[in-house]
Subunit: 179 residues, 2 copies
């Protein structure tokens, strides 16, 4: 799914790989659609709710926010999965899950910024900026897989982005320049 999109999810191939027949597949799932939706809902839980739950254990909201950014942009598989789903946004199986995940992430991010002292409307705006940066960051890597578009190791793009986003935080709590 992450690599080849919906078309890569093939019942017959799956059955072969599991050493069984495709007939038996239909005991476990009503049809291919149910497999796809189940997989997407699993992804929703593991990759969004689970991450949020983990972040909630962090006490300091500024530390939590930074950890959130770090997790977001360090998780290549997650980013590739999200950008892979983009083409199928109109698909009735993918659309609803993708909308839920996107909204959940946006609201959580907005809330995280508010807890850091950013006014709500600016927080929402910054959450949108972060979400577009996320899609763009992984999308561009997907488009140009053979190039280090964002530079080799040091990522000036991410630094720039974090700088813009953190510029909004109450001055005293901004990440020291060395971190």
């Amino acid at each position: 799914m992450r690599e080849g999109g919906l078309a890569a999810v093939v019942v017959e191939t799956l059955a072969e790989r599991l050493g069984t027949t495709k007939g038996s597949f239909y005991w476990h799932f009503k049809d291919r659609d149910e497999l796809v939706v189940t997989g997407l809902e699993l992804w929703e839980q593991e990759m969004t709710e689970a991450v949020i739950a983990r972040l909630e254990t962090v006490g300091d909201p500024v530390v939590r926010l930074r950890q959130l950014f770090d997790l977001m942009f360090a998780d290549q598989p997650g980013g590739f999965m999200t950008t892979a789903l983009l083409s199928h946004a109109q698909d009735p199986r993918v659309g609803p899950v993708l909308q839920r995940v996107t909204r959940r992430r946006l609201t959580y991010l907005t809330g995280a910024l508010v807890e850091c002292g950013v006014p709500p409307d600016r927080a929402h705006h910054h959450a949108v900026v972060a979400a577009t940066a996320y899609l763009g960051y992984f999308g561009l890597q997907r488009q140009l897989p053979d190039e280090a578009v964002f530079g080799a190791e040091a990522k000036p793009y991410l630094r720039h982005l974090l700088h813009v986003l953190e510029a909004e935080l109450p001055a005293a709590r901004v990440r020291p320049s060395g971190a």
Copy 2:
């Protein structure tokens, strides 16, 4: 293609819609792959090369750059097409075209910025920022089609982006705040 991805390109459906048989399709195209590639190459020409050719008629590099930004972010079908292709970036039919288009756009954008007096490495960095913003802008609209994520009519997101990008231009030529 733009709406349903590769899977929506169906020879039988196409033949029906044209009131002919699928057998006759194979007189015009070697196979479905050739149709897909031909379509993508057409898109490459119409949506990238043609736009660039049109921009080249604009004399003033700063005016040209603004026109470029306007075209980029006003062209919803174009943006949706690009984000639709993202999932198929690994596909041998889509990948090469998508890479060419992306690289072409990045180099052109970088060049346009350089002609406005921006130093080459900063120009490249800003071109990358613009490219990610482009993917993020249309990607997020694709993910949340029922919401006006970026605000109704006035687009503070784009204004913000243009502000960041134009901040780099030689001071005297920056777009007046009213425009």
